[in-house]
Amino acid sequence: MIDYELTKEQKELQGRIAAFCRTDIAPAAASLDSAAKEKVPEILRGQFRKLGAAGYLDLLLNGDFVSQCMAGEELAKSCPATFLAAMSSGTAFGMALQCFGTQAQKARFLPGIASGDTIGALACTEAEAGSDLSGLSTKAEKKGDRWVLTGSKDLVTNAPVADAFLVLAWTDREAGLEKGLSMFLVARGTEGLAVGPTLETMGLRGAPTAGINLSGCSVAADALVGDAGGGYILLGRITEWLKLSLSAMSVGLGVACMEVSTGHGKGKKAFGKPIGLFEGVGAKLAIMFTQNDLGRLLTLRAAWSLDHQEAEAPVLASCAKLFTSESVNKIADLAMQVHGGHGYVKGSAIERLYRDARFAELAYGTSEMQRAFIARDSLNRYKPA
């Protein structure tokens, strides 16, 4: 029977995480953005340890998706960069190990991921391969009982601070995408692994990003995560979770934009009344509310679908990702407009959120890729016999 209400436990969790994020996470949001890039890792480590203590990272490893999305929205609302770093460690790296790793792999890394003492990263994208993985060039060659990895990865979130990486590489190029790719665990400090300089990103600067280089990087046979040749399927699963997580991030970011804009609408006066009472500004606030509200619904719907292993979960996750990532950019734009010139100044919250929002439409499947995937689902359903 249709029921949209969260359970009592979920509501309690939401309240607890919201309060924690407000007091413990939000205060560092501005400094994570403005700090010199060499200062970021220390601040971020502090955020991770707090997230660990509050149980947030454990939730990413063990919680249901509805709870994760609810909690994620609260975190992203307080600090989108911390959200992204936590997602990259807890979900992209941690949950992949949780679902596909061996007992030994889990025992070695997951306690640290859950406590926030260990930070993980996922390294897939390359200069010539993003949405189209067939362009990957990183390879893993079997030498004796070891794998030797060669290649380089781009745009690895958390790379400058990560203690361990999941690396996607060809183990059998001839076998093609679905059987030729494999995922490897590579710990920081492994010989042949080099982390590149931290990139200057437009936004989400608190989630430091860099490329990594693998040059004759030799790892033991037990570094393989899942089956040899199972990397593509594994990445497909991770991407589903990440689409959902990014949806929650977009909603949280959108709510943050809406809240500062509503505050500004009430506090700022023009022509004798708060500007939010002018219809032009009010309509913008209303659109922000609408897009956030429906985005949250789509996100929770997709999360519930994934929790219940419905066949339509992947397409619902794409719908949520597409809707929320485009919404948050629209919302950030409206929020900037509501703030007028004051929003255009470094140090204003909206200036930071505006830059942060742009990421959502680009990562883990651009909007173009989401549309192609969603359209395929409908087109296939109504193929002529």
Binding site: I2, A286, C319, D377, Y382, P384
Partner: protein, 382 residues
């Protein structure tokens, strides 16, 4: 949290969908071309119990819950029924009969509901006036108590079903100075002295629903036809919002399904430059956007319906969000469907042209999108 319909609900939806597709769809197409209400369509809908869905069985209805009512609306839209007939059903069932069901006395229910539930009597509701639309509290139709009667004077406009209606649920004011607090609701019979209806209006879309003005000239309404007590009209009108934001929107939701199906089929079949046009990204983009709209609209509509079924108070913000989103985005998507069909999209005999005309009403009726944004903003600024 649960997003699944019960088996019973699913089976019911399937039955309605099949019936409408096989027996009603082509009649609606013909009727829309002529721009006329079809009594045959009406009777068919009545034969399936669709004209009295939420009315309790003891009054001749089906006693359906809110979600089931929405599923029926969805199924009708999905089967391709035109927006005019579904609007006529909406005004009849949810604006007229449901108000009597929720606020009527036992005598009123016994007198009016059985006829309405079968569709034998057609119902309508009169709120909007020439001088007051979204600002409904400014209505000017007056009611004055005289002995055991109320005397109504004034006029209503854009009243769906009025030309055919036997039963009118009418909002009037006992004291205009009191604004909201003076508004009072009456059930007025077609044969009451002093009531008359204007000529049917020619509309852009939803052509098969009849629409006209209603005039009250010293119209005599027996005191026992007072609905819900003196001064309670505003509360009744607001309560109607729950129906308006769910059951009345549900045919639009089904309409989006109909459109997505037709667009997907067409994109698979129509070829250009040696391939199906569905291979072009610009076509795929439209199909993807329709799907996202459909998923979001579905969640929005059933949220209101489920909250009513589960006894959760309706959040007025969320109701406005529904109306705004389904209205605005629905129209945009219908326009995208016409684009997808190219020149054929502009032709009545293809299935998307009517949808665009019908969908425009979603942005206007029952509170414009501008007003929805105003309502949401007002709550946010509190």
């Amino acid at each position: 949290m649960d997003f699944t319909f019960t088996d019973e609900q699913r089976m019911f939806r399937e039955t309605i969908y099949r019936f409408c597709k096989e027996e009603v769809y082509s009649l609606c197409e013909e009727a829309d071309l002529k721009g006329e209400f079809s009594l045959e369509v009406w009777k068919k809908l009545g034969s399936m119990g669709l004209l009295g869905l939420p009315i309790p069985e003891e009054y001749g209805g089906s006693g359906a819950d809110f979600v089931t009512c929405c599923l029926a609306g969805e199924a009708m839209g999905h089967a391709g029924l035109d927006g005019g007939h579904t609007l006529a059903l909406g005004a009849h069932t949810y604006l007229c009969a449901a108000n009597i069901m929720e606020h009527g006395t036992e005598e009123q229910k016994k007198k009016y509901l059985p006829g309405l539930a079968t569709g034998e009597d057609i119902g309508c509701m009169g709120l909007t006036e020439p001088g007051s639309g979204s600002d409904a509290a400014a209505l000017a139709t007056t009611a004055v108590k005289k002995g055991d009667k109320y005397i109504l004077n004034g006029s209503k406009t854009f009243i769906t079903n009025a030309p055919l209606a036997k039963v009118f649920v009418v909002f009037a004011t006992l004291d205009k100075a009191k604004r909201h607090k003076g508004i009072t609701t009456f059930i007025v019979d077609r044969d009451a002295p002093g009531i008359s209806t204007g000529n049917p209006m020619h509309k852009m879309g939803c052509k098969c629903s009849t629409t006209s003005e209603v005039f009250f000239e010293d119209c005599e309404v027996p005191a026992e036809n007072l609905l819900g007590g003196e001064g309670n009209g505003w509360r009744i009108a607001l309560g109607g919002v729950e129906w308006d934001r769910s059951t009345l929107l549900s045919p639009f939701l089904g309409g989006a399904m109909f459109m997505l199906e037709n667009c997907s089929r067409y994109a698979n079949e129509r070829r250009a430059f040696g391939k199906a046009i569905g291979e072009f990204q610009s076509i795929q983009n439209r199909i993807a956007d329709m799907r996202v709209f459909l998923e979001a609209a579905k969640l929005a509509v059933y949220r209101v319906a489920a909250s009513k079924d589960n006894g959760v108070m309706l959040n007025p913000l969320l109701a406005s969000v529904n109306k705004m989103y389904v209205g605005d985005k629905g129209f945009e998507m219908c326009s995208a469907a016409v684009d997808l069909f190219g020149g054929y999209g502009y032709i009545h005999e293809y299935p998307v042209e009517r949808g665009l005309r019908d969908a425009k009403l979603g942005q206007l009726g029952g509170g414009t999108s501008d007003i929805m944004r105003m309502i949401v903003a007002r709550f946010m600024m509190m």
